[in-house]
């Protein structure tokens, strides 16, 4: 690996200062499961690596607030997948977190880091979109909140400005009962990068949110407020037709070696319908 300087700030102010000072020459290190790979293959060559894990204002916990759940910047995929509240109320996120790599990866990878990495194939991002998650960012101009849907631009690019880092991710508590599911297509059952990722939320008021990943430069959120998708009386082919309309924006890369574009699109349709079915089943079925 090429050499770099290593900083281990203990305060948010110090971290923001380092990021502001070094700009694109600095990279944040949380779980390291994406960063180290890219440092090794040379696709990024920072001058400074800023380790966030000693910043006292950042925590690794998951807190219940009046508005919902706040996930600390250092919370790992293992913690998220095991959290009872997330499993119950944000099921798709727990399911997504549970399939990020294998155990060793999940013990290190953070939700915040994974989100900011902005990979089109990030497992947990569709769930965050479907749940209308918000990141809290701290920077030289202070703190702000950014909807995840407004955070992601394309592969590797977010709307965070120089000097900003994510300090927490907020999951708003829903106002109505709902269920969710996370599905994905991989090349094997063992840990793998997904060719398609789908998170689906079905609400008791009949509206549906579906977010999909790996079919374009960033994951996409679509929705149906007509109630058709969530209606048990509507036959599958009508739902499939509506899903096809909702998914017209899917633009898989022709260059990907993980799956061909036509297969990805076909699987998006298959998983979309299966996800709606599964989420509906969870809404009505046993807990």
């Amino acid at each position: 690996m090429r050499a770099f300087a290593y900083e281990r700030p203990e305060s948010l102010a110090e971290a923001v200062g380092l990021l502001t000072e070094h700009g694109p020459e600095a990279r944040l290190l949380a779980g390291g499961t994406d960063l180290i790979i890219r440092l090794r293959d040379g696709t990024i060559r920072p001058r400074v690596v800023v380790d966030v894990k000693r910043i006292r204002e950042l925590d690794d916990g998951i807190r219940q607030t009046g508005a919902g759940l706040t996930i600390g910047a250092r919370a790992t995929m293992t913690a998220i997948g095991a959290d009872e509240r997330i499993r119950r109320d944000f099921t798709a996120l727990a399911e997504a977190a549970a399939v990020v790599g294998a155990v060793q990866i999940r013990n290190r990878a953070t939700l915040a880091g994974n989100t900011c990495n902005a990979s089109p194939a990030a497992d947990t991002v569709p769930a965050l979109l479907a749940f209308d998650a918000v990141v809290v960012a701290a920077g030289p101009a202070g703190e702000r909140r950014i909807r995840v849907n407004d955070l992601l631009v394309r592969s590797g690019v977010t709307t965070l400005t120089q000097g900003e880092l994510v300090t927490a991710i907020e999951l708003p508590q829903p106002d109505v009962a709902r269920s969710s599911v996370h599905l994905r297509r991989t090349r094997r059952r063992g840990h793998d990068l997904a060719a398609v990722t789908v998170a689906c939320v079905v609400r008791a008021d009949g509206s549906t949110r579906i977010a999909y990943g790996s079919l374009g430069p960033r994951p996409v959120l679509v929705g149906d407020d007509s109630g058709l998708l969530a209606d048990p009386a509507v036959p599958d082919d009508a739902k499939a037709a509506l899903l096809a309309e909702l998914f017209t924006g899917a633009s898989p890369s022709p260059r990907s070696m993980r799956a061909s574009p036509d297969y990805r699109v076909a699987m998006l349709h298959v998983l979309g319908l299966r996800a709606v079915r599964a989420a509906m089943g969870r809404l009505t079925g046993p807990p």
Partner: protein, 160 residues
């Protein structure tokens, strides 16, 4: 660019160690080269194969995806730390009993992952074992004898 180094203090297999590491070196490199513990293996270096698995503060991690400096202040367990002197741990004995180790190269990582699994799930189902060891690739075995070893070790433990 000149390499930076940092002096870190960590507990390795129960012993306090001070070591000067290059900040761009991984924990795997520090364990093998600076600490001389070559039981932990190097294979894919991208966190896929698990040959480099160690315990950090009780959790299994791919040491190839951690910088050595990130382990400052941590407690690290490698395969060399499983036995108590010449008394092999129950997992090690079980791996011998069921023939789990063939070429042996993946085995240190498998043992560490199994150790972490049994620490949280003392009586795992077969599915939990498969999931718990999914991050450790083996190319020699059909994995079955490894699973049997974990089950055997779990049974050897006093019932919960």
């Amino acid at each position: 660019m000149t390499a930076r180094t940092r002096r870190i203090e960590l507990t390795v297999n129960g012993r306090s160690r001070f070591v000067e590491v290059a900040v761009h070196h991984t924990l795997l490199e520090a364990v093998r080269d600076d600490l001389g513990l070559t039981g932990t293996k190097e294979c894919c270096l991208v966190g896929e194969c698990g040959a480099c698995t160690v315990l950090v503060d009780g959790q299994s991690v791919d040491s190839c995806l951690m910088l050595a400096v990130e382990a400052d202040g941590a407690s690290v367990t490698t395969v060399e730390g499983l036995a108590d002197g010449d008394r092999l741990a129950r997992l090690q004995l079980a791996f011998l009993d069921t023939g789990a180790a063939q070429c042996g190269f993946c085995i240190p990582g498998q043992l560490i992952s199994a150790e972490a699994l049994l620490a949280t799930t003392p009586h795992p189902t077969r599915a939990e074992i498969e999931e718990g060891l999914a991050g450790n690739l083996c190319r020699c075995a059909g994995y079955e004898q490894i699973f049997e070893a974990v089950e055997l070790a779990a049974r050897a433990e006093a019932p919960a």
